[in-house]
């Protein structure tokens, strides 16, 4: 080994490797692009200088009027700020959009061309190869952009931007640049589709998502802190105080475990962890394309990030300082360092992230990670057979990894959901059914993820063709979802049938009550004498109190009405007509119920109606259903206890059976292939004779 080789294996040394020679545009193009960019920057600065608030009779003002460029800036400070923000935007676009696209293409082309193998054969680690390919191909662009950033910061500082605001913005741009570069490297190592353009298109999709986050945050206050994932969103909140979103929400201050600032630690944590995980995954895929992007601990780290972000942002309750969660004795107020100028300007802690939102983050992100992990695993028939072959060959660590993987996914889901439950336990459940519905939701989530992983694995392993895999997966997913849906639909039907019966009876009892009232009144009217009626009415004086003018006139109206026999008769006639109408309505309801009513729900409805024979029983049953629906439905339909759990269990049993059958078939196939392999070719006599003199041993075939 040559002594010229360096044993320095630090990351910095590897970053200094000469990858920037690769896939750089021709020198003429680079020079042309540089000078074009330089001229554009100069042009922007000159135009902004022309827009400064010069005196009315000055030459620049004359030029501006001649060009029709309007009023320009109000002050020189505003002008400087304008130049700074424009330069920042250009710089951000260069370093976090153009450069990562170019780097992604460069790495993808190394893989397409096969030249990456020579790089992998060098003594550098694969991680350093990925890092080098991330930042080196467009290093000139980064240098240019960095210079522009410093220029913009200097101009912005002169224009009155605070050092804190400027440094936070630069930090955000750097973070987003690193994350987008890492995403590009990950995509480039994951696929080389369309001759290297697939990852580039994928990165554009990721970029659109990231850079659209400020828009999402604009319309949803509870996730407005996500705007800081995009450098443009940061500029909007930090530099452009007068922008629409800033006006709408005020200065948003992020807070994370008591640390707060315009760009909080949670955002830095998200950027940092995502970048590290993505680069790690890219390097793993380069090293071992047949493996997973991340090992299990990688997924656990991601999950930890989700927890940290969810729990760390929870104290941002959107309340005024002094009234929030942190001042309730749960966290020491002294632990909150102040950010210069931030809290003074706002008086608010920032975006409202409630416990429910935090729980949502944990659940959705956790399930997404589980799904990602399932899909990430190489579900390949060949790999399973390879493992079986190795086991048959006596590998000591013989354990079929696919099996462990599926159950790991299920276990992880249990962890995610249990943690979600822990989050939820900080809030108070309104009622017992709420608690049980939450527990059921958790159970179904765990069940779904576990068996989804089993189904996907089985389908992918059993069939070779994409169509067969898709078909098998679809059938099994349909079976599982169907077995889940049946109890849900059946429950909804029984619940709906109860309330149909209940509201039918409610309507009928109301009609009955109206008819009874009318009958009573009618009887009273028919037998009443004018004098008798008059003798029962006492008109109190207005001064006696208690009666308002309205009541007096009502009494006077009825007095006149009943005093006049003709009017009384007319009222009787009116009551008769109303009663007939109600009776008709009642009969129609009865008839509709007996002929058409409730359709397929009729059998269930009849059973409920039987126990609503009296208004009291009807009211009691309604109250019981409201408090304990499962108990009421169980009383009338005991079979739910059997079918509700049995159907999903049967579906699960089918999938497990199908899975075991598949794996056994694969194992058998692998063993058959091993049996059919030809016998050792090296004859014993030859083996003995061919022993090399240096002590080297000839082949000893299995």
């Amino acid at each position: 080994m040559s002594a010229a080789h360096s044993d320095d294996r630090t990351l910095l040394r590897h970053l200094g490797q000469p990858f920037y020679f690769r896939h750089t545009p021709p020198l003429a193009l680079r020079r042309g692009a540089f000078w074009l960019g330089f001229l554009v920057i100069i042009g922007i600065v000159l135009i902004n200088i022309l827009l400064m608030p010069y005196p009315r009779e000055s030459t620049p003002r004359y030029l501006r009027d001649l060009l029709g460029w309007g009023r320009g800036y109000e002050t020189y400070e505003a002008g400087a700020q304008g130049i700074a923000t424009q330069l920042l935007l250009i710089s951000t676009a260069l370093s976090s959009i153009v450069a990562p696209l170019y780097a992604t293409y460069s790495l993808a082309m190394e893989r397409v061309g096969g030249t990456i193998e020579f790089l992998k054969l060098s003594p550098m680690s694969t991680l350093s190869v990925v890092l080098g390919k991330m930042f080196a191909p467009a290093y000139l662009l980064h240098l240019f952009s960095g210079g522009l950033l410093l220029l913009a910061a200097a101009i912005g500082f002169v224009g009155g931007y605070g050092l804190g605001d400027l440094s936070l913005t630069l930090l955000s741009i750097a973070c987003a640049t690193a994350t987008v570069h890492a995403a590009g490297a990950f995509l480039a190592c994951a696929t080389t589709a369309f001759r290297g353009f697939g990852p580039v298109v994928g990165l554009i999709g990721v970029g659109v998502l990231v850079y659209c986050l400020p828009f999402a945050a604009f319309y949803e206050a509870s996730v407005s802190y996500m705007r800081y994932l995009s450098p443009f969103g940061t500029m909007d909140a930090v530099l452009w105080k007068d922008s629409a979103s800033s006006q709408w929400y005020g200065r948003v201050i992020d807070e994370f475990f008591g640390l707060r600032g315009a760009i909080g630690p949670s955002i830095l944590l998200i950027h940092g962890t995502l970048s590290a995980i993505l680069v790690w995954a890219a390097a793993r895929w380069l090293d071992h394309p047949e493996g997973t992007a991340l090992p299990r601990k990688g997924y656990l780290i991601l999950l930890g990030l989700v927890f940290l972000v969810a729990l760390g942002t929870v104290p941002n309750s959107g309340q005024r300082v002094g009234q929030g969660f942190m001042n309730q004795g749960l966290m020491p107020q002294a632990a909150i360092p102040s950010v210069a100028g931030a809290s003074e300007r706002t008086g608010f802690w920032g975006p409202s992230v409630s416990w429910e939102n935090a729980m949502g983050i944990v659940l959705i992100a956790g399930l997404a990670f589980c799904l990602f992990m399932i899909l990430d695993h190489p579900h390949r028939r060949e790999l399973v057979q390879e493992e079986f072959s190795e086991r048959a060959g006596g590998r000591e660590t013989g354990r079929v990894l696919r099996m462990g993987h599926a159950y790991f996914a299920g276990t992880l889901t249990v962890g995610v959901l249990a943690a979600g439950l822990a989050c939820q336990s900080f809030t108070r459940f309104g009622t017992t059914p709420e608690f049980w519905s939450w527990v059921l939701t958790l159970g179904i989530g765990v069940w779904a993820v576990l068996f989804l992983s089993l189904v996907l694995e089985t389908a992918w392993v059993r069939y070779r063709s994409a169509a067969g895999r898709a078909m098998a997966a679809a059938v099994m997913v349909a079976l599982l979802v169907g077995s889940l849906l049946y109890p849900l639909i059946d429950w909804a039907q029984k619940d709906s049938a109860f309330w149909s019966a209940y509201y039918h009876k409610t309507q009928m009892w109301a009609l009955q009550a109206n008819i009874t009232t009318l009958k009573t009144e009618l009887a009273a009217l028919q037998g009443v004498a004018d004098d008798t009626l008059l003798s029962t009415v006492t008109l109190p004086s207005a001064s006696a109190g208690g009666n308002t003018g309205g009541q007096f006139y009502n009494l006077q109206y009825y007095f006149n009405r009943y005093k006049d026999p003709a009017m009384a008769n007319a009222t009787v006639g009116q009551y008769r007509m109303e009663m007939e109408s109600l009776q008709n309505n009642f009969q129609q309801q009865q008839q509709y119920y007996s002929v058409y009513g409730f359709g397929w729900k009729r059998a269930s409805v009849e059973r409920y109606l039987a126990d609503m024979a009296t208004p009291e029983a009807h009211a009691d049953l309604g109250a019981e259903m409201r408090s304990a629906p499962f108990a009421v439905i169980l009383k009338y339909h005991a079979s739910v206890l059997l079918w509700y759990p049995l159907l999903p269990l049967m579906a699960c049993a089918f999938v497990i059976w199908f899975r075991r059958r598949t794996y056994r078939a694969l194992e058998k196939e692998a063993l058959e292939a091993l049996k059919q392999a030809p016998p050792p070719l090296l004859p014993a006599s030859n083996a003995a004779a061919s022993e090399p003199p240096s002590g080297a041993m000839p082949a000893a075939s299995a």
Partner: protein, 316 residues
């Protein structure tokens, strides 16, 4: 220098390399031969850390190919059978690029690059872009790149493919030069005769397994053993003017004669009993009136060894 113990690689249920176990000493030049699909390239890729073995262990220079890949990579040079180069780079700059990637001192790298360019006949092409090189020139550049960082072990997978006869000679000389420097070289090639010129060990692979391994020369060497054929005695070639089928029938009865094969008027066979038996057979045939135009011992070369070792199943 290189040690494999039960090295196995599966592609699904297909066993590409099966329990390969051998040791190559420092400074040995080992020819790895076998038909297409025998597992030569897979073996080389596993030993050069580009492919993870399914089972078994292998070390190169004491470093495990799975656990200490960087350690292995520091010691090896590898030229795959098919490889891609950076088309838009000049030849000299390409070599400088990899010299820096391997952490070579700039002055040393410049000296070594100049030396290798001259030895491999690339000096006149040093300023040309890689994309403009012919296939043979690209192959030479690949060889230069593989030896650039002065590795202790070099794996060359079909290095002579695409080279004209002169270039092959130059490559052979270059490899001999490296051999003198004490490098351990594992080279696979279909041109067995050329391998015999500079290889001192041979490993024959078939169906993923090693069917023969050992030194080429010496009393226990492969050539010596296969020269005696190990089974039926010396191998002979007999050519007649006519009546070869009748001679074949007659020779089958001759004592000690085995493995008799006939192609038109040429017969090959093995005969026990040494030169006396050969003379007796020749006299017997002439006495029977056969007109013999050639009677000679068959030349033993790598091809012969390969055919014998693989039972004639593999076509090189």
């Amino acid at each position: 220098m290189i040690a494999c113990d039960g090295l196995t690689r599966y592609y699904g249920s297909f066993r590409a390399v099966d329990a390969l176990s051998f040791t190559i000493e420092r400074g040995a030049v080992c020819a790895l031969v076998g038909p297409n699909g025998a597992g030569k390239s897979t073996t080389m890729r596993m030993l050069s850390t580009l492919l993870r073995p399914s089972r078994g262990h292998a070390t190169v220079g004491g470093c495990d190919v799975v656990k200490d890949r960087e350690g292995v990579r520091r010691q090896i040079g590898y030229l795959p059978e098919t490889f891609q180069l950076y088309e838009d780079m000049p030849v000299e700059r390409y070599l400088h690029f990899f010299a820096r990637a391997y952490g070579l001192d700039a002055r040393l790298a410049a000296e070594r690059i100049a030396d290798y360019l001259e030895r491999l006949g690339l000096l006149g092409k040093r300023a040309e872009k890689v994309g403009a090189l012919s296939r043979g020139m690209r192959q030479r550049l690949g060889v230069a790149k593989s030896f650039l960082h002065d590795p202790d072990v070099v794996f060359l997978d079909e290095p002579a493919s695409g080279l004209d006869p002169v270039a092959r000679t130059e490559l052979r000389d270059f490899l001999k030069f490296q051999q003198h420097l004490g490098k351990t070289v594992v080279v696979s090639s279909h041109v067995l005769k050329e391998l015999a010129d500079f290889c001192d060990h041979i490993a024959i692979m078939q169906d993923g397994r090693l069917v023969e391994y050992g030194p080429l020369s010496g009393e226990q060497g492969v050539l010596a053993r296969y020269g005696e054929a190990g089974r039926g005695g010396k191998a002979y070639v007999l050519k007649l003017l006519k009546d070869a089928p009748r001679a074949e029938l007659l020779m089958k009865e001759f004592p000690g004669l085995t493995n008799l094969k006939r192609l038109d008027v040429t017969l090959t066979f093995e005969l026990a009993g040494g030169e006396e038996a050969g003379a007796a057979l020749l006299g017997h045939l002439v006495g029977q009136g056969f007109q013999v135009t050639r009677f000679a011992e068959e030349e033993v070369d790598l091809e012969h060894v390969y055919r014998k070792a693989s039972g004639g199943r593999g076509e090189v």
